[in-house]
């Protein structure tokens, strides 16, 4: 009998249409002037901002990671916040530098393939969308399969906002079925100009192998050095605030506190006061068994981004429900100690050190396994100690006396607010800073002789206010050359005839076939999820 499962499987390449559309959008976008660009970017930022709460709820519901209120805050900061930060800067040009006899014109990257993670799905999506719009790039999102639903919904809303604000058709798109082979194909697709990879090391490596320019970010594993000059109560409060923020799902969160021995006990007490539970050795063992499997893989489904109390309960540790983080003291800061590794969960390692020298050595030891080039924190007032630690720790940002989750990501500091943290050459990335809009454009430099009379370009703009390819317009119709003279390619609307490009919805499938397709899709989705969970656990 023919039937049951489809006995023929038909290959499809949904990338073709998406990438071609993105190329058209990029071409039209790159001609727009600054005012129009800002209007589009603002509209996208505002759309992200207004959805912040709903998106946060959807993300937590779908992934089970993090805290709604904190996700909401990040979604807001990464939409309107990021826009406000950069709205005053010109990523379009022309920019004249008369003293240098140079005039600069922005040339956008073109089509950006932006991967977004399951941990911060919407904040990252908002962030990359706003950056892309500010710099007149078309962006194609490839959401992490675990956060597919909320990411697609958000991306579509941003695309709609861009469209309404006059962006070229297809300026923001999203891959609807982001399977691993499809994402790999997208990364190496010849129509992509730049890959922005945020995700696990495997994704980042793949981005760099794609043959395209790529900004990938490595994993975090941040040491936070609490120097003896610190106020232990203030430091403890920041640590707990940071570690509990979105249940430590940001890669900038503190992984291990390196406490100067002289204040370590006071700091532990202050941590307790601030809502931490400090684990005993026996509890630490149980927690270790819960968090890592025998191969050293992190427990993604049971612990990643979960509440401290939930994790404690799962590990058989009795804590009050108000517990905000779990602190695990351990002796040897070496990579073989799992607690010295990255923990995207409100679990904070705690080790004692003797001064900045040892703190630096400990930082290097723990980041050797993972986290090189990422972030580190410092708490204290001693500038010499800070300098010594910053010189020694293999991080590219050292945030001082702030919650590191937020501070290293540029919230509350003057590092660029970002969801994409460059880990630099040592961390295997071409990007050593927090990703900013200027990373997404090249500049054409018009260079005169150094002693020439500076050319004035102020009154000339090479850009247009309306895209060649507006998202909403009737299809081209012209009646050619009527008797009496050529009308050229000028378009004449057809009176009395409605010419919407879209028109009535057409479908090639009957309702029954649609049900079958839905069932098939659900089956595939389940398989992909399973595969992904397995992959994440062994990573």
């Amino acid at each position: 009998m023919d039937g049951g499962k489809p006995f023929l499987t038909f290959a499809q390449n949904p990338l073709d249409g998406v990438m071609e559309r993105a190329r058209w959008a990029a071409g039209a976008f790159a001609e727009l002037d600054r005012a129009t660009t800002l209007r589009i970017a603002r509209a996208v930022a505002e759309a992200g901002h207004s959805r912040a709460q709903a998106d946060a709820e959807a993300a937590v519901r779908e992934t089970g990671f993090g805290v709604v209120a904190h996700k909401r805050l990040k979604n807001e900061l990464c939409s309107r916040g990021v826009f406000d930060t950069y709205a005053g800067q010109d990523f379009v040009g022309p920019l004249a530098e008369p003293d240098r006899r140079i005039v600069k014109l922005a040339r956008p990257a073109g089509v950006i393939l932006a991967l977004t993670p399951s941990t911060n799905p919407i904040a990252t999506l908002n962030f990359k969308a706003v950056l892309a719009m500010l710099t007149r790039n078309a962006v194609v999102f490839s959401p992490h399969p675990l956060a597919k639903g909320c990411s697609i919904a958000a991306a579509e809303a941003l695309a709609e906002a861009a469209r309404k604000a006059g962006a070229p058709d297809g300026a923001i798109q999203v891959l609807r079925e982001p399977t691993i082979p499809l994402v790999e194909a997208a990364m190496s697709d010849a129509r992509v100009d730049l890959v922005l990879a945020t995700g696990g090391p495997a994704v980042v490596q793949a981005a760099y192998r794609s043959g395209h320019p790529a900004y990938g970010v490595g994993p975090g594993n941040a040491p936070a050095y609490v120097h003896e000059s610190a106020d232990p109560v203030a430091a403890a409060k920041r640590l707990v605030d940071s570690k509990s923020f979105d249940n430590s799902i940001l890669c900038t969160n503190e992984s291990v506190v390196l406490a100067d021995r002289v204040l370590a006990d006071r700091l532990l007490e202050a941590l307790r006061q601030a809502g931490a539970h400090v684990c005993s050795e026996a509890e630490a063992d149980r927690l270790r068994a819960l968090l890592w499997n025998a191969e050293g893989g992190f427990n993604v489904t049971g612990a990643l981004g979960k509440d401290a109390a939930v994790i404690a309960r799962a590990a058989g540790i009795t804590v009050p429900p108000s517990t905000r983080i779990l602190v695990v003291p351990f002796a040897k800061v070496q990579p073989e100690e799992p607690f010295a590794r990255e923990k995207l969960a409100p679990v904070l390692g705690f080790a004692r050190v003797d001064g900045p020298g040892e703190a630096g050595r400990a930082a290097r030891a723990m980041m050797r396994h993972a986290g090189t080039g990422h972030s580190a924190g410092f708490h204290g007032r001693d500038e010499a100690a800070l300098m010594a630690f910053a010189r020694a720790a293999p991080a590219l940002r050292v945030a001082v006396n702030v919650p590191l989750s937020q501070g290293a990501a540029g919230f509350g500091t003057n590092l660029g607010p970002t969801m994409t943290i460059g880990t630099g050459f040592a961390g295997g990335s071409a990007l050593g800073e927090n990703l900013r809009p200027d990373h997404l454009v090249n500049w054409v430099q018009i260079a005169q002789a150094a002693d020439a009379e500076p050319a004035r370009f102020d009154h000339i703009s090479p850009w247009r206010a309306e895209p060649l390819l507006p998202a909403e317009a009737p299809i081209s119709y012209s009646q050619g050359n009527p008797p009496g003279g050529p009308v050229g390619g000028k378009r004449a609307p057809v009176p009395g005839v409605d010419l919407p490009f879209g028109g009535s919805a057409v479908t090639a499938r009957g309702p029954a076939a649609q049900d079958d397709m839905a069932a098939l899709r659900a089956e595939i989705r389940a398989l992909v999820l399973e595969e992904l969970r397995a992959a994440l656990q062994t990573a």
Binding site: R21, D169, N481, G503, A508
Partner: protein, 424 residues
């Protein structure tokens, strides 16, 4: 040595010589004389190569046959997969593939109830004419002067004298022609109430895509309704999103009683065409479903390809690309006309269906040649050689569109010279 496994030639000259000897002396010679010495070799997307290797961008796409590109990878995969299980099938029996395609077509063709399949457009037109005759019990058919519906027994009779007289196939008593865009002439033809159907290309292709005047198609529709005549839309070149919607008649807001589609439905891979019938025109399917038979019409593997064609066409991205291509050329030609008003004088356009007008009655023949020499293949309109058929595929990329305009520009001096020569 050109070696194709089953056969080989020593050179292109040998191909041409044997083509004259065994295949078609007239056609083969014509192109040599026109300066277009093309024998198609490798092909991919919207690029074709001469067997000598010369690369050409294909803007002829055989009237939409290669709407989705030559050897579209998704379509090849579909055909290959279908061949694991299917073949042409047996036209006598109900078939999973034919039924599925018929349903898909009915679902994307408002007002239509049935799909009758054919191996090509001409036969689909014959089915349409026969269906209209059955429904109205009238015999006469009205078509447009310079209209084109193919070369089968009935369809050819609707067309130009050139194709009928030579075969003694003209039937002036049953097949009446009226000028395009002339509602008065249409009414004069219909008001005797003895016309079974008007058959009309939504935009007449072989005539060089003159645009229907505002209100013309609806006017014809109204006249048909008034005089009990059926409206047959020929969507062979205007269907499949080429005008911006699935069917050209949707763009113009007219509802035919039945319509035909061909070319693009095949994906350029497996011949298939269709006559879509409304309830009334489909009456004969109830009385005697075997009244029209075609062994290869609706071959099952072709149905799979056609299903994929419809699916690709209905993706939002395809829609977007179609519009992008049309907007790009609207702007591109406006600019070309501004810069070369002595050569290019106008653009007729509905979406990706375009006719470029030149300032000479044979200007488009010269343009075909000049473009051919500059790496672009676009064919003049057989029935109005002032107009070049300019038919980019709906999936064309921005980069390729830019290249087309650049090459068009580069061909202008040569074109200007050729036209000057003709003006002599």
């Amino acid at each position: 040595m050109l070696d194709y496994g089953l056969f080989r030639y020593t050179s292109k000259e040998e191909v041409l010589e044997k083509s004259i000897r065994y295949w078609n002396p007239g056609k083969t010679r014509f192109w040599q004389e026109t300066g277009v010495d093309l024998v198609m070799g490798r092909r991919e997307g919207y690029i074709i190569h001469d067997i000598d290797g010369r690369r050409l961008i294909d803007l002829h796409i055989n009237g939409g046959t290669y709407n989705l590109g030559h050897r579209n990878a998704e379509l090849i995969a579909t055909l290959t997969t279908a061949l694991e299980y299917f073949d042409i099938g047996n036209h006598w029996f109900p078939s999973v593939a034919r039924t599925a395609l018929a349903e898909a077509l009915v679902n994307c063709s408002p007002g239509m109830s049935y799909a009758v399949f054919a191996p090509g457009g001409a036969e689909a037109a014959d089915i349409a004419i026969k269906s209209a005759r059955y429904a109205t019990k009238r015999r006469k058919i009205v078509s447009i002067i310079k209209g084109y519906h193919g070369h089968a027994g009935l369809s050819v009779a609707t067309g130009d004298d050139r194709f009928t007289k030579i075969f003694l196939s003209d039937r002036p008593d049953e097949f009446i022609q009226v000028p395009f865009n002339d509602l008065a002439a249409m009414e004069a033809a219909l008001k005797g109430r003895d016309i079974a159907a008007v058959i009309l290309e939504t935009i007449p292709a072989t005539y060089g895509f003159p645009m229907p005047a505002p209100g013309y198609l609806q006017g014809v529709r109204d006249l048909c309704t008034k005089y009990g005549t059926l409206y047959i839309a020929d969507e062979v070149q205007t269907g499949f999103m080429r005008c911006g919607q699935m069917w050209g008649w949707q763009v113009f807001g007219v509802q035919p009683d039945l319509f035909i589609a061909a070319k693009g439905l095949s994906g350029g891979l497996y011949p298939i065409a269709v006559c879509m019938l409304g309830e009334r025109a489909g009456g004969w399917l109830h009385e005697d479903g075997a009244a029209h038979i075609s062994t290869t019409g609706g071959g099952e593997v072709g149905c799979f390809v056609a299903m994929r064609v419809l699916e690709i066409l209905q993706r939002p991205e395809t829609r977007a690309n179609t519009r992008a291509v049309s907007e790009f050329f609207a702007e591109g030609f406006a600019d070309l006309i501004r810069r070369h008003p002595d050569v290019v004088v106008g653009l007729r356009q509905m979406g990706t269906v375009m006719g470029v007008e030149f300032d000479h009655p044979e200007g488009a023949v010269a343009a075909s040649r000049a473009l051919y020499e500059t790496g672009v293949w676009a064919i003049f309109s057989s029935l109005d050689k002032r107009v070049l058929q300019f038919k980019p595929g709906v999936l064309m990329s921005r980069a390729l569109c830019e290249e087309v305009i650049e090459r068009f520009d580069a061909a202008i001096p040569r074109l200007r010279a050729l036209i000057a020569e003709m003006k002599g």
